[in-house]
């Protein structure tokens, strides 16, 4: 029987994930959950435990909307902190709601390709193991291309000469990326868009305001969940830097010790999930002369709460302002925007002040 396979959203990663699933399940239908809207979050919150972190609620909302659209197979990737334990409860909640579906839980912590392959085999993937690996590598490569494209956009979109040209190119890129089925096609697309990016005129003053973003990965990678903060900033001609992407996380598997070492003056131990990164990257941003840092996380996220006293210390030691956001399903958009505005206004004034001082 033909299955309808679906998965939750995070940023634009649905593009490579969808392609991957299409390749390994050619006989089935792949249907990403509908794009996140307010309704997604409302649905998710309604059926979630009270103070579970908000990514859980988004995911649950994604699943419900996917099931409404007829999905029969849902996928969840487990790993990190509480994330590792989402799947079991989400499955139970959805089944208690009366939905019938198959749930694939992919363990991330012990990254074992053979086990994952077997899981997919069970659900009806027909590809052989080597083919499966090839598709997985293609997907990883696709994610890398996507990440590097988007990080260029993030750092430059505030400074384009002709408004909206990067945004338009971004949309084009995503729709072209969706047609990729092989390595050669991907690398052609990559170089094509590299030169396209170059044709877009950027006028960036060397002393523009620079803000780095650190924190919990879902808040960082799913713009809806952070009220599109990155976009807001770039509208104000601010250069935005963020390290956490899926590419970063994939490489991190090898990097852990190094990260801890470079955060060494503040940390003796890893403090859980992305908390260590937040500390290390904040120190790096401070050293690189960034004007400010924004720390984002879901309300109550323990690893990031762990990082906060240390961030406060970095902020004091390096005299770099840090703005802290905590998101849950009640967070008001106006509240976020007001605090954000006040923050970059303050940074701008500080910068002007510095400049004046130098003149004297």
């Amino acid at each position: 029987m033909q299955k309808i396979i679906s998965f939750p959203h995070i940023g634009n990663y649905y593009v490579p994930i969808e392609i991957f699933l299409k390749l390994i399940f050619p006989e089935h239908i792949i249907l990403p959950s509908p794009k996140i809207t307010k309704r997604t979050l409302e649905l998710g919150s309604k059926y979630s435990p009270d103070f579970v972190c908000v990514p859980f609620k988004y995911n649950l909302g994604n699943y419900i909307e996917a099931l409404e659209n007829g999905a029969t197979v849902l996928i969840q990737v487990c790993g990190g902190c509480r994330y590792g334990y989402y799947a079991e409860i989400q499955e139970k909640i959805l089944k208690d709601l009366g939905y019938q579906f198959e749930f694939i839980k992919i363990g991330w912590g012990k990254f074992n390709p053979i086990k994952i392959y077997q899981l997919f085999r069970k659900t009806g993937a027909s590809a052989s193991f080597p083919t499966f690996i090839r598709y997985a590598l293609l997907t990883i490569k696709m994610i890398e291309v996507l990440d590097s494209f988007e990080s260029y956009i993030r750092e430059n979109i505030g400074f384009e000469k002709k408004k909206n040209s990067l945004e338009t190119l971004h949309q084009q890129f995503l729709s072209d990326l969706r047609t990729v089925r092989g390595f050669r096609q991907l690398s052609r697309l990559q170089s094509e868009y590299k030169s396209k990016l170059k044709t877009i005129k950027i006028e960036k003053p060397s002393d523009c305001l620079k803000i780095g973003i650190v924190g919990e990965l879902y808040s960082l990678m799913e713009p809806f969940s952070s009220f599109f903060i990155e976009k807001e900033l770039s509208k104000q001609q601010i250069q935005v830097r963020r390290f956490i992407t899926v590419t970063f996380l994939l490489n991190k598997l090898k990097l852990d010790k190094k990260i801890l070492k470079s955060a060494g003056s503040y940390l003796k131990y890893a403090i859980g999930a992305d908390g260590t990164d937040s500390v290390e990257k904040s120190q790096l941003l401070a050293k690189q002369g960034y004007d400010g840092i924004i720390h984002m996380k879901p309300f109550g996220c323990t690893p990031e709460v762990n990082a906060m006293p240390i961030l406060q210390k970095i902020s004091n030691d390096y005299k770099i302002p840090i703005l802290y956001f905590s998101f849950d399903s009640q967070t008001s958009e106006t509240g976020v925007k007001t605090r954000l505005e006040a923050f970059y206004d303050m940074l701008l004034m500080r910068k002007e002040h510095e400049k004046c001082k130098q003149l004297i």
Binding site: F51, C53, C81, Y85, K92, L267, K268, T302, P303, P309
Partner: protein, 310 residues
């Protein structure tokens, strides 16, 4: 030399182990005493707002020990082996304290078995930092380990006796640093007793057995402390009359695990109590009272039915 033990968090699991170890090596220990209003207030002041209540209380205890001892013991715990993780709060307490207070002298050991950091190794290293030979530290550790085990077994035995009682029994499913904290759990268990019921403690069971039985509720759960607690539900189900899930705001692991318990284990009346630092006692007491009423009614009904059958 004096080693300070914050009376919070893992103290409730390791009190005997720690005290015996340091005493064996010839050191004094001092604890921070029971949680009180001041400890709580200090804890809140030195914590990030969103930290869970027990970790705030922990900070208060650490603060109260500063200046009263040469070292404050703060272990760092990650896991006890594969799929036996602990809440990430325990990964970070050392660094949080170190970055929050200027003048603390921390003594620590690292427990992360999957990375080869076993408890014994940690204790030997600690002994060496304190200027004792590895051999002597090893002896002290072994002795301490035995003492803790003996203490635990006795406690379990004692509770087994209490379980024979005819009175109404409520299982408190909660981390020991919540259950026994003067400020969080204690008023609740005390109130239960005042109402004539008996609190039974989910942490006073054979942990190996409960770990195994926890798999009946969840096979993918990997937080060791939570596993031990839910295993206790399975072990004691037939001997108790109701379950109180007691958790602190905003506890990460419990928010998920308690949801699972509520959805999966439906045999007994269960309530979920979430305590925060602004907790008013009155509201809580009413809830517990009416919960006990519900249980009593249930029991009466059962009795009636049984009588009819007889």
């Amino acid at each position: 030399m004096v080693i300070g033990l914050p009376k919070a968090m893992l103290y409730y699991r390791y009190q005997i182990l720690w005290e015996t170890f340091f005493h064996e090596l010839g050191f004094e220990t001092v604890t921070s005493g029971d949680t009180n209003q001041k400890v709580l207030e200090d804890g809140v002041r030195y914590s990030i707002d969103e930290s869970c209540l027990p970790s705030k209380i922990f900070m208060g205890h650490v603060h109260s020990l500063i200046g009263k001892c040469d070292y404050i013991l703060i272990p760092r715990v990650v896991n006890y082996g594969y799929c036996k993780e602990v809440c990430v709060k325990f990964n970070a307490l050392y660094d949080i304290v170190n970055n929050t207070f200027e003048n603390v002298n921390i003594l620590d050991y690292n427990l992360s078995v999957t990375q080869g950091e076993k408890e014994q190794k940690g204790f030997i290293k600690m002994g060496m930092i304190l200027g004792k030979s590895p051999l002597r530290s090893l002896h002290a550790y072994k002795k301490a380990k035995k003492a803790q085990a003996l203490h635990d077994t006795l406690k379990v035995k004692e509770q087994e006796r209490i379980l024979e009682s005819e009175k109404l029994k409520l299982l408190i499913v909660s981390h020991p640093y919540i259950t026994y904290d003067r400020f969080i759990g204690f008023p609740i268990t005390e109130y239960i007793q005042r109402l004539g019921a008996i609190p039974i403690y989910a942490d006073l069971i054979n942990k190996k057995e409960s770990l195994k039985r926890s798999e009946e509720i969840s096979d993918s759960l990997y937080w060791l402390y939570n596993k031990e607690l839910i295993g206790a539900i399975q072990l004691l189900e037939d001997k108790i009359d109701g379950i109180i899930l007691l958790t602190a705001f905003p506890c990460g692991p419990d928010s998920l695990v308690n949801e699972l318990i509520l959805r999966k284990s439906k045999k007994l009346p269960t309530i979920n109590i979430i305590v925060d630092e602004l907790q008013g006692e009155a509201g809580l007491q009413t809830r517990i009272e009416s919960f006990l009423d519900i249980i009593q009614q249930r029991l009466d009904q059962k009795e009636k039915i049984q009588k009819r059958i007889v």
